[in-house]
């Protein structure tokens, strides 16, 4: 009996004692994640981080769709009727010049998410740029890695500047505020965050300058072609957009001409070949896409499809909420012979065929835009660098079954641009840079806000203002 007691006592003490010896069992590491101090140590880690930045860029809140979506639905009810129920988009879609029945609230989900996702992606790009010393050029050339990170950062700063700040021509860009410029990565430890992690808004000019600098450097580093990643020409194309927004036509001309002259891209023979990438082409992108966000069945959500698309019984592989109903007034802007006039599917909506494919890619820049930009810049500068404006416009027209024009004026160029690039994210910015007026609810007498209205600028997200007192709210939301 006594022996048993002793044995049991020993057992008991052992059972209690063992875990004492195993106190380090509490040191466990996560499985799908890497501690920040070991996660970025090799070239593979670096390239993996760069891919993470592309992933951020591909998100619906950025080039996955929303950046383009807002530009087309903003105060454009007469041409593109929003029939969805998302309050955040409704606020943007139903704005008119006078009525205040629809206003964008400062907690608008699109304004909030677009901002957050852009900076999430910029932080990744900054991490890549700070850790280039890890690159040995074996997995991916160092210059390419650097160029891509700069391309991503520059592109996002440009988009942020024109969505959250005043248009370049509106007042003084050296005074007007755009968004904060964050050019270094955020520390991974809470106690290392400082006041510098609560930045104020930089001026429109400063953000444009940063975007331009990033993209210019990128254009010198990136290769001619780079699979479905950013190429040298994608950087030039972005520079042409920046220049156009600034009214810097020589720069826009030079950059767009570079892209065209590269010979890497070509116009798709038929307009329909540009779309239904997955349904008709098994995911092969047309050679006209200069830069696009690639979608597969495994990865990515085509955010334009989400709202413009709808499940059409007769076309398997289509999907979407069917929120955007193209109005007859817009269709009627096309000439009768125009292929694009019939490029719609009628359900209980008039849907553009551009974004019906569930797994279609999201084009960011197409070559035809470069022709339209070059034509406009040449026309404005009365030059014929690359080709005559008339030839460039006719190229775009011929492809959609339209005859050559004999004479050309600026409004013709802009109209062609608006028809060719409809629902691809250009409309609002073209109105702003040409100082026009949005349609609002009327197709005949535009009653939308004018180009420089504060209603055409997103609010600084409420949550950001609440955590960072240095952020000043935009004029329309104070």
């Amino acid at each position: 009996m006594k022996k048993n007691l002793i044995k049991t006592g020993l057992l008991a003490l052992t059972l209690i004692g063992v875990p004492f010896a195993c106190a380090d069992r509490l040191d466990i590491m996560p499985f799908q994640s890497q501690a920040s101090d070991v996660g970025l140590k090799t070239e593979s880690d670096l390239v993996g981080t760069l891919i993470g930045a592309y992933d951020g860029l591909q998100a619906t809140a950025s080039y996955g769709g929303d950046i383009m979506l807002l530009s087309d639905i903003w105060a454009n009810r007469a041409h593109l009727r929003f029939r969805g129920t998302f309050a955040g988009l409704q606020q943007v879609a139903f704005i008119t010049a006078t009525s205040t029945s629809s206003v964008i609230t400062t907690d608008n989900a699109w304004a909030t998410n677009m901002w957050a996702n852009a900076y999430r992606t910029i932080n990744i790009a900054n991490l890549v740029l700070e850790n280039l010393s890890l690159s040995e050029g074996a997995v991916r050339p160092t210059n390419t890695v650097r160029g891509e990170a700069l391309f991503i950062r520059g592109s996002l700063y440009f988009e942020l500047a024109r969505l959250y700040g005043k248009t370049w021509q509106d007042g003084d860009p050296n005074q007007n505020l755009a968004v904060p410029l964050v050019l270094t990565s955020t520390p991974f430890e809470e106690n290392k965050l400082t006041d510098a992690n609560l930045p104020a808004r930089a001026t429109v000019a400063a953000v444009y300058a940063q975007a331009k600098a990033d993209l210019t450097t990128a254009s010198t580093l990136l290769p001619n072609s780079n699979l479905y990643y950013a190429s040298k020409w994608a950087a030039f194309a972005q520079l042409s957009r920046i220049a156009l927004m600034q009214g810097d036509y020589p720069a826009a001309l030079a950059a767009s001409d570079q892209v065209i002259q590269s010979g890497v891209y070509s116009l798709a023979p038929a307009f329909n070949d540009l779309w239904f990438n997955f349904i008709n082409f098994g995911g092969v992108a047309p050679k006209e896409y200069v830069f696009y966000m690639r979608m597969t069945q495994q990865d990515g959500t085509n955010g334009l499809n989400t709202y413009y698309g709808q499940t059409v019984s007769s076309i398997p592989g289509t999907a979407g909420r069917g929120d955007l109903d193209v109005q007859a007034a817009f269709r009627d802007l096309h000439e009768t012979a125009d292929v694009r006039r019939g490029y719609f599917t009628i359900t209980n909506r008039r849907l553009t065929n551009k974004h019906l494919d569930r797994f279609g890619h999201v084009p960011v820049i197409r070559l035809s835009e470069m022709y339209l930009t070059r034509a406009e810049a040449n026309f404005r500068l009365v030059s014929t660098i690359g080709d005559t404006p008339l030839n460039d416009i006719n190229r775009v027209r011929n492809r959609v079954g339209l005859a050559n024009l004999a004479v050309l004026d600026l409004s013709g160029i802009l109209r062609e641009r608006s028809l060719e690039l409809a629902f691809e994210g250009h409309r609002l910015h073209d109105i702003k840079r040409t100082q026009g007026v949005t349609l609002g609810t009327s197709a005949t007498t535009p009653n939308g806000p004018a180009w420089n209205s504060p209603k055409l600028i997103l609010p600084i997200p409420l949550r950001e203002i609440e955590v960072n007192s240095k952020l000043v709210q935009n004029e329309g939301y104070q």
Partner: protein, 1030 residues
């Protein structure tokens, strides 16, 4: 050695033979009802000679020849001492020990008699919850324990339930209590990946449970230290009793249905509202309503919206109405069979049970099936060692419904136009099913998902625990326990091509398969020491606990099936998704507790626990959680002894610190996560900012209470006041998004709950007609004291639940609705801005200037009062029990449905019938603004959509009849009871939608409570049952 042992045995034999001079036999019965009492200890006073009564209450004992006394003792009964004298047969009746109230309360690593408790522990016993037609034990608790607020949240089967003990203690960490089954902390977090959170407690058969103890204050909880801040629910399963094997068979069957319907517009009303709204828009836009481009024509023109969505019927009949609630609600079935065996002898005792439950939901497509088996065995190996094992196996199958915020949620059908038939007239299939037009109805028809897809969760669960208990020295025992909780779950879904409008990738079928495997094991090792010296009683416990839980998941998704006949991913042409993950947490803890009692009057308990966890920063890995409590049994004092009225009176108080660590795994680390691939190339992203100083959230609790019994304990009760203060909250604090991160977990802020709890139990009649009443009441006030001015929101974006200093967690924050301008039908909102003199500007702004109306607290989803009232009656063989529960003073946001369906026809959604009261002409006085199609007029988030959620519910009524013994003896049955049970028979509330016991699963979080988003109501269930004892 062998010889020595032999010698010992012989000696012992001789010794006992010498001692046993004569044999006493007898029978022990209860003085209450004359029933025999098995398991009573019978000891010859002052010796170790003793025995235990058998199943028939009989004993037999050899006693020394002269002058001894026999002592009969049994827990809960008065110990009785009788001189043997010359008798050889001694029968005795034992009386219940009323002064002791005698209830044994499980306290965690031990137990105590209720009168000796100094902490606050609520108990619910098996008989209070037997055969209630609810599948999970937490839902059954509702109304049965003071200070425990249970919200079933949804009428979907097996869905997560919210349980709050004494309010919300945390903002970012969990607020759910810790559940411990037979000493093992079990996995209770939802593992659902579709259709909202589920409740893993469903895997536990409630009828296997002997008792539930809810440790509410710090003194009771401190033994669970860092995990006790939200209360601890100790679940003890049934044990066998020595004696004849008892066999109980129970079968119940019945049906359930939605208890209420919400009135919606008919087709005429619907069209009237929409056309009124369209006319407003056309007038504003200066477009004649006859213009083909007008909104009026868009709706009512030939072949346009009304015609299109009614298959042309509207052109000829504008009144034909289809009530979509008829389509989605169904009569659910309920069938349950239970069998239980309980028995054993002095050495071996067992309890075994089996259950089969099958339940059909009140919403189409919802089903739950459960099978459980249990075997609990306790074995006395020797006089110093006993061992035992509890083993439970369960399989739960749940055919799930989509989450509330999905177009495929069946109840979202109510938004569909009443002009649209539920069947496509051309195909006879549910409207919108291919090959018919899938663009009708205006939104996806959820019935297609029910008919052409399936999403099922099937879980296999094994709770097992073993123990060994050794008596080392007099008063000193050692207990070691090892337990496992294995949860193995698969979720399998297949969406046929017919669902493609909703499952947009299901063009050629979409199959998903996810498995989750959780291995959670735990060991407890502790000493217990009991010593009586003089007037002092000491009970001390010291030990350790180690828990490790690992969760592994894998997921596969496939597209492009040859046809819908193939539904396994083996046939998918495209594997579109796949994943595997793992996560772990570990706890290592040491605990100690001492209960000291002096002169049966003065009580003191000290306890403490040191907890270490893998979840905390290297700099703060361990935390210490002490508590102290004291009690004074006044009724034992001389000055009260003589007062007949007072049977029992005790005051007690406790103070202590407990913690909360339920924040998810690895919150302290700065991390990259490798989930950022881009089209086929792996990528990583910074996913978390680390905090090496992260430590436990602490909860400081004070409790003072009084326990009383009057009139020979015919009236007993408890009254408690408590104050709980959570500090160093584990708070997800917002970061500027410009950092690339949204938030970081910090120890920041504090909040407070204080409240009163009252429990009253009365025996109103005690004769042949018995009537007992128990009542519990709790009032809690919660308040966030400090969150560093942060704004934390959850729930529905535009009308969020918010955490704000000075308010309870999750208050609704929106502009205040001011009704309708009689002049023009504009919705009005109070400006509520602060004037320069500090007063509030109560002027109004109209709809157009909505942005100028300041947001303010317009509601609180937390109840002020929670109550339960049970009355039980019995007369001869008839028994009746009636449970009412009440939740008062909480608000609910109906904005989820309201912004579309109670929004004076802003969209094409059908409108609740109350929208017909809309403003039409100048001078109209109403709360419903003018209908304005696609032009918001009061549909914005505001207090218009915040309603009172108070309710009183007749939760359970059970009426039974036990057949008389005389009848049963003939058929050799012990007991037969037939009964009928009604669950949720009546609901008293002003709530406008289906059910105020609600919280939308799509938004559910600590903060997001009280949101209704087309959420299915609680079922009203009626069951007929029979209970047979063999």
């Amino acid at each position: 050695m062998k010889k020595f042992l032999l010698l010992c045995f012989s000696f012992a034999f001789v010794l006992s033979a010498w001692a046993q001079e004569r044999v006493i036999t007898g029978k022990v019965t209860s003085s209450e009802d004359g029933s025999t009492l098995p398991g009573v200890n019978v000891v010859v006073k002052g010796t170790t000679i003793g025995s235990v009564t058998d199943a028939d209450g009989k004993y037999s004992l050899g006693v020394p020849s002269s002058g001894a006394n026999l002592v009969f003792s049994f827990i809960g009964l008065k110990t009785s001492e009788i001189a043997i004298g010359e008798r050889s047969i001694i029968d005795i009746q034992l009386t219940p020990d009323v002064t002791q109230l005698a209830e044994v309360v499980v306290t965690g690593f031990g137990s105590q008699l209720r009168p000796d408790l100094t902490g606050n522990i609520a108990s619910v016993k098996a008989k209070d919850i037997a055969f209630v037609p609810l599948p999970s034990i937490d839902a059954i608790l509702q109304g049965n324990a003071a200070g425990v607020y249970v919200n079933s949240q949804s009428g979907k089967l097996g869905q997560a339930v919210s349980v709050r003990v004494r309010g919300n203690s945390s903002i970012s960490a969990s607020n759910e209590p810790l559940y411990v089954v037979d000493g093992i902390p079990i996995t209770t977090g939802s593992q659902s990946n579709f259709g909202g959170a589920t409740n893993p407690l469903v895997d536990l058969n409630p009828n296997d449970i002997e008792s539930l103890e809810i440790l509410k204050d710090a003194s009771a909880g401190a033994i669970y230290g860092a995990r006790a801040a939200n209360g601890v629910i100790l679940i003890t399963t049934k044990k066998g009793k020595a004696g004849k094997t008892q066999v109980t068979f129970n079968y119940q069957t019945g049906f359930s249905e939605s208890s209420r319907r919400v009135p919606f517009s008919n087709s005429e009303q619907y069209a009237t509202l929409l056309l009124e709204g369209a006319k407003y828009l056309d007038d504003r836009n200066g477009v004649p309503t006859t213009d083909p481009g007008s909104d009026t024509q868009f709706l009512s023109g030939p072949g346009e919206f009304f015609d299109y969505n009614s298959y042309g019927q509207w052109a000829t009949d504008t009144t034909k109405t289809y009530d979509w609630q008829d389509v989605v609600f169904q009569k659910g079935s309920y069938n349950q069979a239970d069998i239980q065996f309980s028995g054993g002898n002095e050495k071996t005792k067992f309890f075994a049970s089996g259950q089969y439950l099958k339940q059909g939901g009140i919403i189409i497509g919802n089903e739950l099936e459960r099978m459980t088996g249990r075997l609990n065995v306790d074995q006395k190996v020797s006089d110093w060692l006993s061992i035992g094992m509890n083993m439970n196996f369960a399989r739960t199958y749940n055919r799930r419904l989509p989450d509330d915020n999905a177009f495929s949620n069946p109840l979202q059908s109510v938004a569909l136009p009443p002009i649209t038939p539920s069947r496509d007239p051309n195909t006879g299939l549910p409207v919108g099913t291919p090959p018919g037009d899938i663009g009708i109805p205006i939104y996806y028809n959820p019935q297609i998902t029910v008919d052409y897809s399936k999403f099922a969760q099937e879980s296999f669960r094994n709770f097992s625990s073993t123990y060994a208990n050794a008596k080392l020295l007099p008063g000193l025992t050692f207990q070691t326990e090892f337990g496992l909780d294995v949860l193995s779950q698969t979720e399998e879904g297949y969406f046929q091509s017919q669902t493609r409008r909703n499952q947009t990738r299901a063009t050629r079928g979409l199959g998903t398969n996810r498995s989750t495997f959780i291995l959670n094991y735990n060991t407890n090792n502790y000493f217990n020491y009991t010593k009586k010296f003089g007037k002092s009683d000491l009970n001390a416990t010291v030990g350790m606990q180690y828990q490790q839980s690992s969760t592994r998941t894998s997921f596969t998704e496939g597209l492009d099936f040859p046809s819908d006949s193939y539904q396994k991913i083996a046939s998918a042409a495209t594997i579109s998704g796949g994943s595997s993950t793992e996560t772990q947490f570990r706890f290592l803890s040491y605990f100690a507790r001492a209960n000291y009692k002096f002169a049966d009057k003065y009580l003191l308990t000290l306890s403490g626990r040191i907890d270490g966890s893998s979840r905390f920063g290297a700099n703060n890995r361990y935390g210490f959680f002490p508590a102290a409590s004291a009690g004074w049994i006044l009724s034992e004092e001389g000055f009260l002894k003589g007062i007949e009225v007072i049977s029992f009176l005790k005051v007690r108080s406790s103070y202590g610190i407990v913690g909360n660590a339920e924040i998810g795994n690895f919150p302290q680390l700065g991390l990259f996560t490798g989930d950022a691939s881009y089209v086929g190339i792996g990528g990583q992203r910074p996913s978390q900012i680390g905090n090496p100083n992260l430590r436990w959230e602490t909860n400081k609790q004070f409790d003072v209470g009084i326990d009383f019994g009057f009139f020979n304990n015919r009236l007993t009760g408890e009254i408690d006041y408590y104050n709980r203060r959570s500090e160093d909250l584990l708070l997800n604090t917002n970061l500027a998004s410009t950092t690339g991160f949204n938030s970081v977990t910090r120890n920041l802020g504090s909040l407070e709950n204080q409240g009163i709890e009252i429990v009253l139990n009365t025996q109103n009649f005690v004769g042949a007609f018995k009537w007992n009443t128990s009542f519990n009441f709790a009032a809690n006030r919660g308040r966030v004291l400090n969150i560093n001015g942060q704004i934390i929101t959850g729930g529905i974006g535009q009308l969020p639940n918010r955490v704000m200093e000075g308010s309870n967690i999750g208050v609704f924050f929106a502009p205040e609705y001011a009704g309708v301008d009689p002049a023009n039908g504009d919705a009005l909102f109070y400006r509520n801005s602060v004037n320069p003199d500090g007063t509030i500007d109560r002027s109004t702004v109209n709809n157009a200037n909505y942005g100028q109306a300041q947001r303010t607290v317009v509601g609180d989803p937390n109840p002020d009062y929670v109550m339960g009232l049970t009355n039980t009656f019995s007369y001869k063989g008839i028994d009746l029990s009636v449970l009412f529960s009440a939740v008062l003073g909480n608000d609910i946001s109906i904005y989820g449905l309201g912004q579309y369906s109670s929004a004076n026809a802003i969209f094409e959604d059908n409108q609740t019938a109350d929208q017909m009261a809309r403003w039409q002409n100048p001078g109209d006085i109403t709360r419903v603004p003018q209908a304005r199609y696609y032009a918001g007029n009061g549909n914005q988030a505001s207090s218009r959509f915040i309603v009172d959620g108070s309710f009183v519910r007749l939760r359970n009524v059970s009426l039974g009849y036990t057949l008389p013994k005389s009848l049963l003896n003939r058929v050799k049955l012990d007991r037969v009871r037939i009964y009928v049970t009604g669950q949720n028979l009546a609901l008293f509330t002003s709530y406008p939608l289906w059910d105020p016991e609600v919280n939308a699963d799509s938004f559910d979080s600590n903060i997001a409570k009280g949101n209704d988003f087309y959420t299915p109501p609680q079922p009203r269930t009626i069951l007929f049952g029979i209970n047979i004892g063999l």
